[in-house]
């Protein structure tokens, strides 16, 4: 009842002073719009791609670096071990049966020949991985399933396709049992992954934290069988590492593989850390792992943090937007104060006619909060506009971008419902912050001071 009355008074006050009202709404809208843009961008980058088991999956990193490593003094965290492991170390780690699941993998490039006349061969990205990839990362399957560990060592001529590639080659039909040609060799399709795009692509961020998943998956044994070079990052971490062809790559201290384990309980995690440390300590006798033991297991949130997925720019933008919102709030305080004091005679009259000090304060606060909520609504629209503009500036369409890459650009500038709820919360908070002092000030004044004739 009282609130309804206050709202009516607020609307009347807006009509009395439309320019000041518009200025206030636009200041609040600009502040909330900028805050929402930066928070949305931050939120999208600071995602939880596999939240349901993010504390059970661990990236394994070993400090295989030699005593001196070029450029280390420039790094922000020179103490971090390299983000990937060598072929030799991955093979050794894979022997442990402590983890529930373990995956060693890397990315490579292949060429698909559709074998149809008129359709030219095209390049695809392929992930060479051991069998546990699919159960470990809960990869959703549209058709069929992944393979068992035995298929890795044979290796079996089988592949799992992404739905993107399945759409391209088989028009989205169930292709399980069909075969495809990868660089002159036949592979049988045993599964098709459903649309799957974890963001950030936490399990391998060496080609960018926000990237689409590979076009297909092959059993790991094909790595050595076909001598497939990695299509990602290769980092040789000791001065005595020998760069050469594929045979020397898998025999030297160059890291190029991702290694992940799933360990559900802490006791097993401690045993696993012990196992890893024992392994590297044992390697010291061969002149490897010359630095003090520094092997780190990162769960998914720690891994995203270690790789600085959020990035400086997102953080700076959030700080800047919050400062801007603060300026807008201070501005609103000033404008509101001017407005309330300008209408003081009316307020004085209401006080003289019996309105309590508390009621006057309440009434003015309601007015500011209403303004802030209107400003917040305009701000959300501004933010959508701004995010659209940012997407248009940052997304450069490639020659064969599928819907996934476009969806990726959308996802990074997407304002979901949680963001809208947050915007409403920020608006109300803004209103209260901006309104408290002016409302208190106008409520505090003695009625007589306003009633005197000037």
């Amino acid at each position: 009842m009282m609130l309804k009355h206050d709202l009516r008074l607020a609307l009347r006050s807006f009509r009395r002073n439309p320019i000041l009202t518009a200025l206030t709404v636009s200041a609040i809208a600009a502040g909330i719009g900028a805050a929402m843009i930066s928070i949305t961008l931050y939120h999208a980058r600071a995602g939880h791609p596999i939240w349901w088991k993010e504390h059970q999956l661990f990236a394994v990193t070993l400090d295989a670096r030699g005593s001196d490593h070029t450029g280390e003094e420039l790094m922000r965290h020179p103490e971090y071990p390299p983000d990937q492991v060598t072929y030799r170390d991955a093979q050794a780690l894979y022997r442990s049966d402590i983890p529930k699941h373990a995956v060693m993998m890397y990315r490579t490039a292949r060429v698909v020949d559709p074998g149809k006349s008129g359709v030219k061969p095209f390049g695809v990205t392929a992930r060479l991985t051991t069998a546990d990839f699919f159960p470990m990362f809960d990869t959703p399957m549209r058709y069929g399933a992944g393979w068992g560990r035995a298929a890795d060592t044979t290796p079996d001529p089988i592949v799992v396709l992404s739905s993107r590639l399945n759409d391209k080659l088989f028009n989205g039909a169930n292709s399980v049992g069909r075969s495809i040609t990868l660089n002159d060799r036949q592979f049988r399709v045993i599964g098709v992954a459903d649309r799957w795009m974890p963001q950030p692509k936490f399990y391998d961020m060496t080609t960018g934290a926000f990237d689409v998943a590979e076009d297909l998956y092959m059993p790991f044994g094909w790595a050595t069988e076909l001598k497939l070079s990695p299509a990602g990052s290769i980092n040789c971490v000791t001065p005595s590492a020998k760069v050469g062809g594929f045979d020397s790559l898998i025999d030297t201290d160059c890291v190029f593989m991702q290694y992940w384990v799933e360990i559900p309980d802490t006791a097993a995690l401690r045993r696993y850390q012990q196992f890893v440390d024992n392994y590297t300590n044992n390697q010291k006798q061969y002149g490897r792992f010359v630095r003090p033991t520094n092997n780190r297991l990162y769960d998914v949130p720690a891994w995203l943090d270690r790789n600085d997925v959020v990035g400086d720019d997102s953080r700076i933008d959030v700080v800047l937007a919050v400062v801007f919102l603060a300026v807008c709030i201070v501005n609103t305080v000033g404008l509101m104060l001017a407005k309330f004091l300008g209408a003081a005679p009316v307020t004085g009259l209401r006080r003289a006619l019996g309105a309590s000090r508390k009621h006057i304060m309440h009434q003015h606060l309601v007015e500011v909060v209403l303004l802030a909520v209107i400003g917040g609504a305009v701000g959300v629209l501004l933010a959508r506009l701004g995010l659209w503009a940012i997407k248009a500036m940052t997304y450069v369409p490639g020659p064969d971008d599928g819907p996934e890459r476009r969806a990726l650009a959308d996802a990074l500038a997407h304002m979901d419902y949680s963001m809208v709820v947050l915007a409403i919360g920020i608006s109300i908070l803004t209103g209260i912050l901006a309104g408290l002092y002016p409302a208190w000030r106008i409520g505090k004044a003695a009625p007589a001071s306003f009633l005197k004739a000037q």
Binding site: T70, P239, I316, L335
Partner: protein
């Protein structure tokens, strides 16, 4: 002057001026720090590359049949590309300039693998690399045709075999050979344990626009003459000015059918590539700039609003002053000086905020500390902005007629 009166008047209605001063303080802190950040980004964005970007385009291919022979494909492609009318020079390469990815190796002046070394970008290119990129040599010569190493099985093998001659940029030469005697010296390559003679020094070659502490690495480059291995092909083609579109169209049409068993992955102008690479720098600069403009605009609105409010509530007093002999100029001066006092108190606090912000930003973004002349420029700008915002209301105040004093409002 009437400064003391002015201060006491300000103190009596202090809330409004304090709010404005707070805004000014924030605005100054944002303005100074953001200008500095954007300046650093733009410096990387527009740094000279030393490469004739505007007249180069590239085409990449991938082979997929076992009977594809890289050696003969390379020879025939290069011969064909170099014979096209409008082409200055064409070379094969393993990686592109003006992108962030590439091959890097440690280089040193000594054969000892534990001697101090310097990381550098590596370009494995066929003959005519210097002409193709349009590079200028500071000294020495380009590599001799005989020095170009033949095609190997893969990139790793090619690196392991290396080549007898290399070209390096001046930036790298200065780091590895601080005495300035790089030309003719042996450059040792870590991880492959090879060395080659430095036959020429490139004036400038920026591989990628890099900001922050690693920016030097954007300008450190080694070109090693090796015919790139398969199955991927990458050709850079430099044309005479104005003839790029015509040559590019011809290559796009005819290139894929020249050699069987391969397909064209992409064909693009290097200008486009370089533009895309700078996308992040450009976008973040625009975002930062827009937010700063908004902060300044909102602050200006605040100053303007307060001045309008003051002029409105003081109409009678202004009229009285005019009636007792103050000239329009005095009224104008009163409001300008009053505003200047408010702005300046904001500026003082703002300087502290700006310096604190500078420390935080340099921690966050690993950038060098904010130089002081940015602060000086920011202070001057904010003063000017304050005066401009108050000018209109102050002139309105000066226009108030002395007759107002005689009326009761």
């Amino acid at each position: 002057m009437e400064i003391r009166h002015m201060l006491s008047a300000l103190w009596r209605t202090r809330t409004g001026p304090i709010l404005i001063a707070v805004q000014i303080a924030f605005a100054l802190a944002v303005l100074v720090n953001v200008t500095y950040m954007v300046e650093q980004r733009l410096a990387a964005y527009s740094e000279p590359t030393g490469i004739d970007i505007e007249n180069i385009f590239w085409v990449s291919t991938t082979a997929y049949t076992p009977d594809y022979d890289q050696k003969s494909a390379l020879e025939s492609d290069l011969q064909w590309l170099n014979s096209l009318p409008g082409v200055i020079a064409a070379s094969a390469s393993v990686t592109l300039p003006q992108v962030f990815w590439g091959i890097g190796l440690p280089f040193s002046a000594s054969a000892d693998p534990h001697a101090p070394n310097e990381g550098s970008r590596l370009y494995m290119m066929s003959a005519r690399a210097v002409e193709t990129l349009g590079l200028k040599l500071a000294s020495g010569r380009t590599f001799s045709p005989a020095a170009v190493a033949p095609v190997s099985a893969d990139v790793g093998t090619a690196l392991g075999k290396w080549a007898p001659e290399v070209l390096i940029t001046q930036t790298l030469a200065d780091r590895v050979f601080p005495n300035g005697d790089a030309l003719g010296k042996n450059l040792y390559v870590g991880l492959v344990n090879r060395s080659a003679k430095v036959v020429g020094i490139i004036q400038t070659m920026q591989g990628a626009p890099i900001t922050g502490p690693f920016s030097r690495w954007g300008r450190q480059a080694v070109i090693v003459p090796i015919n790139p291995p398969g199955p991927n092909g990458l050709y850079l083609i430099r044309t005479h000015p104005g003839r790029q579109a015509e040559v590019m169209a011809r290559v796009e049409k005819e290139f894929v059918d020249r050699v069987p068993g391969r397909y064209v992955v992409q064909i693009q102008t290097l200008a486009r590539t370089a533009y895309n690479t700078r996308n992040g720098l450009r976008t973040s600069s625009i975002i930062l700039g827009v937010v700063t403009l908004l902060v300044l605009a909102v602050s200006a609105i605040g100053i303007f609003g307060l001045a309008v409010f003051n002029v409105t509530t003081r109409t009678k007093q202004i009229g009285t002053r005019r009636a007792v002999g103050a000239r329009r100029f005095h009224i104008l001066r009163y409001f300008l000086v009053e505003n200047w006092l408010v702005t300046t108190s904001g500026v003082v606090v703002g300087c502290v905020l700006a310096l604190a912000g500078g420390v935080i930003m340099s921690r966050l973004a690993q950038a060098p500390r904010l130089p002081l002349y940015y602060l000086v420029g920011g202070v001057l700008f904010v003063w000017a902005l304050g005066l401009l915002s108050v000018l209109l209301p102050a002139r309105r105040a000066a226009d108030i007629s002395p007759a107002v004093a005689t009326r009761t409002v």
